[in-house]
Structure formats: structure tokens, C-alpha cells
């Protein structure tokens, strides 16, 4: 999908929240809990359906100037898409 047009959003029925007990972001869905690493949590918190995939990469590149955002963020978003966790 075109990064300038795709506005990823977590699917209805899946909840992203901070788990204060385990100090991690988690994804909750039927019969399943996914514990996210800090990077994954940062990316998914930007996937609210208003920002394009390109916007998300830009924001993260500003936050983490030394990280390989341009390659890793699109790969991660595709993985989440393949899991069926986006709307």
C-alpha cells in the first residue's frame, strides 16, 4: 500500500494499552495478549487512522534521529497488517 495514502488504524476489537504491572504496552484481543517492546508500542500508538504511514515514519525519524526508521517502520507496519490487526 502507498505510504502517502495508507492511514493504519488498529482494528475494532483490539485494544492497545499500557500495562502498569508489567511496564509494557500490550495488545488485547480475543484469547490473546501480545506484549509489545517499547519500539512497537511507540509505532502503534501513532496508528490512529488520522496519520499516514509516511507521517508515522516522519514523526519517529524526528524522535529517533539515529534509528533506521525509514526501513524498519514500513516493515513493522506490514507485519501488523499481515497479522490482520489493522482495520
Amino acid at each position: 500500500m502507498n505510504a502517502a495514502e495508507w492511514r493504519p488504524r488498529i482494528r475494532r476489537g483490539i485494544v492497545l494499552r499500557w500495562d502498569g504491572v508489567r511496564e509494557s504496552d500490550i495488545l488485547l484481543m480475543p484469547e490473546r495478549v501480545v506484549v509489545l517492546n517499547p519500539q512497537a508500542g511507540q509505532i502503534l500508538r501513532l496508528c490512529d487512522g488520522t496519520r499516514t504511514a509516511a507521517d508515522i515514519s516522519t514523526i519517529l525519524a524526528e524522535r529517533f534521529p539515529n534509528a533506521p526508521v525509514a526501513t524498519e517502520v514500513p516493515t513493522f507496519l506490514r507485519r501488523i497488517q499481515d497479522q490482520g490487526w489493522f482495520a
Binding site: G13, V15, D19, V21, L28, M29, P30, E31, V33, G84
Partner: protein
């Protein structure tokens, strides 16, 4: 350090319009007058969230029979807990589901007993298939994640093709094809419900063919019974490690079937905080970890994977909850789980 539980099974009532002969509720059902009240459930959910629970199955019996179900769901949502309503579908209306969804309900699991009205109603012990059909449409219309659960046994395994077709027609997202585990009511009905190995083998092929055809939509989950392949299951992800069950009367259990274990002295949420129950109680510590294990578990490389299997099944079949689960092919009691299918009348689940 004892790690916190992920999940809560909230059995809010044992009352149920159905009488399924494989029901996982205990033979001694809790009376309605002994059930926890709304405030108790709200407190338990709050304590569960504090402790680390992030998922709750709101189950029963039939949870829709609780007039305060919306308040219970609200309390779970307030505690940050993801909720799944586990229902027979009897009594589910669009209005009721809308009210529950507004309160924070996240997903629904519906049960069905077989693919046709006559067969499904025969297992359920009452007319209910048409209600389930309507419930499926209501869940789909509400656009909630929709799980369909079918407990499989001798009387419906040969209809698996039709059952999966029904699940696709009803629009389920996830289909649990769960072979009967024999404790509680199912143990009482073992002779009538125990399938033959040939039935299981054919069913397994049917599922594999559908999985290939459907490509994951809906997702088909095939839950093989432990006795069939001689591999014990890590019951509840390990005793006191993953999940806590609260029975309708407030009894807290490491497994929903554990109320049958004599001398467990299960604590009650009416008397004690859930954190103490999880971290300090003798009942939750009793089979946690591996130190309690007898041989052949003690020296087995699988002991950290299967945790010795199911304590309740060991108790039900051998009278000793600390023995190796007879489902394991290495158990000296393994002969106790060998299939002995036959025909027998069904004993329907009823208050005793």
C-alpha cells in the same frame, strides 16, 4: 517472586437454560441465592486489574441471566480488563448487546452444539438452536469479534463438515473446535461422549482441509483431547501461573474444575483479597512449579512445558491430585484414559 495472572474466568452464575451433558461446571452447582452480588464482583474485578489481570471471560452457566451483567462489565472495563462474554446465546437481544458494548464489552463467544436444530437441541437438552442463530446475527451486526465454540464428542464429530459450514455462514471470526475433556459432567457421560479414534482421525482431516480452503478466515482452532495423543496439556498454562477462576459463590480456584479436589481448601474472595489468594494461599501454591511432582514427572524433560498435566483430571481418575496426569502416555495410570466408546443414555446437566 510469583508472577501475576493474565486472565480471570468469572463464572458469574451456574444457572443456565441449557443442560449440556459435557458441561465443565462441577456436578455440585452453586445455587442462585449463594451467588456473589454486584458490589463483590466489582471489587473482585478491581482487585484483578490491580493484580495484573488483563483479560476476563465473563462466563457461567449463562451470564445473561445476571440482571446486573452490565454493571459487572462496567467494572471490568474500569479496571482496564478486556472482556469476552461467553454465552449460549439464549436471551441475547440487540438491545442487551448494545448496552453491554456501551459498558465496554470487547468480544463475544457463542456456543453451538451441532449443525442442525434437532441435533443441537438434543445435546443442549432444550430448544435453543433458533435462538443461537438469531444471536449470531446480532453479534455480527454489532461488529464485535465473534468466536464460535463447539464442544466435540462421539455424537457430533461426524458432522464436522456441516458444523464448519455453519460457522462460516454465521460469520464467526474464530471457531474453536474443542474436543471434550472428561471431567465434571463429561466424565459422568464418558461412555456416551467418548469418540472412537477413527472418528477423531477423520475429523482431523476435515479440519485440515477446511483450514486450507478458508486460509485463516475464519480461524479454525482444533483442540485435540490430551488422551487421544498421550500428551498431557499444561492445564490452565500451569497451576497458579496464568489464570484464576472465581466461581459464582466467590470460591477462587486455579482451574474451574478444581472445586472437585477434596481437601484443596479453596479460598473465597468474600473473605480475602485476590492478591493474597494468588500469592499467599496454600491452594494456589499447592501444585505451582515443579517441586510437588512425583515420578515420572520429576525427571521428565517436559515438566516445564506441561507442568504434569491436569491436576483435576489426575484427581478425578486416580483419586490423587498429585499424581501424573493419566492423559500422559508415560503415566502409570494411562490405561484409565483409553477410549472405551459405547452407547449410553445422556445424563443432562441439572441442579442436584
Amino acid at each position: 517472586m510469583i508472577r501475576p495472572p493474565w486472565a480471570l474466568l468469572a463464572e458469574v452464575t451456574h444457572a443456565c437454560p441449557l443442560h449440556c451433558p459435557y458441561c465443565s461446571n462441577p456436578l455440585q452447582l452453586v445455587r442462585r441465592s449463594a451467588e456473589l452480588g454486584t458490589a463483590d464482583w466489582a471489587r473482585v474485578l478491581d482487585e484483578a486489574g490491580e493484580l495484573g489481570v488483563v483479560q476476563a471471560h465473563i462466563s457461567g452457566g449463562e451470564p445473561l441471566l445476571r440482571p446486573d451483567l452490565t454493571e459487572i462489565v462496567t467494572a471490568a472495563d474500569r479496571a482496564g480488563i478486556y472482556t469476552q462474554l461467553v454465552t449460549s446465546g439464549v436471551g441475547l437481544t440487540a438491545n442487551r448487546l448494545a448496552e453491554l458494548t456501551t459498558a465496554g464489552l470487547n468480544s463475544v463467544q457463542l456456543s453451538v452444539q451441532d449443525a442442525t436444530p434437532a441435533r443441537s437441541d438434543h445435546i443442549a437438552g432444550r430448544d435453543s438452536f433458533d435462538d443461537k442463530c438469531r444471536a449470531a446475527a446480532i453479534i455480527r451486526e454489532a461488529d464485535l469479534p465473534f468466536g464460535l465454540n463447539i464442544v466435540l464428542h462421539r455424537l457430533n464429530l461426524d458432522h464436522l463438515d456441516d458444523i464448519i459450514r455453519l460457522a462460516v455462514t454465521w460469520g464467526a471470526d474464530r471457531v474453536e473446535l474443542a474436543n471434550t475433556q472428561f471431567y465434571g459432567w463429561a466424565l459422568r457421560n464418558r461412555r456416551a461422549l467418548m469418540p472412537g479414534q477413527d472418528q477423531l482421525a477423520a475429523a482431523r482431516e476435515t479440519v485440515a482441509a477446511w483450514q486450507k480452503r478458508l486460509g485463516g478466515v475464519p480461524e479454525l482452532i482444533w483442540v485435540l483431547p490430551d488422551w487421544a495423543d498421550g500428551v498431557a496439556k499444561p492445564c490452565m498454562g500451569g497451576w497458579g501461573t496464568t489464570s484464576v477462576t472465581v466461581a459464582p459463590d466467590g470460591t477462587a480456584l486455579p482451574c474451574p474444575a478444581a472445586s472437585s479436589i477434596d481437601g484443596l481448601d479453596a479460598p473465597n474472595v468474600r473473605d480475602l483479597p485476590l492478591r493474597w489468594i494468588w500469592e499467599e494461599s496454600a491452594a494456589f501454591g499447592r501444585y505451582r512449579g515443579t517441586a510437588w511432582m512425583p515420578e515420572p514427572c520429576r525427571s521428565c524433560p517436559s515438566k516445564e512445558t506441561d507442568f504434569g498435566g491436569c491436576r483435576c483430571q489426575a484427581y478425578a481418575l486416580t483419586g490423587d491430585a498429585a499424581r501424573t496426569d493419566p492423559a500422559c502416555r508415560l503415566s502409570p495410570d494411562h490405561h484409565l484414559v483409553q477410549p472405551t466408546p459405547g452407547t449410553a443414555p445422556l445424563t443432562y446437566r441439572m441442579p442436584q
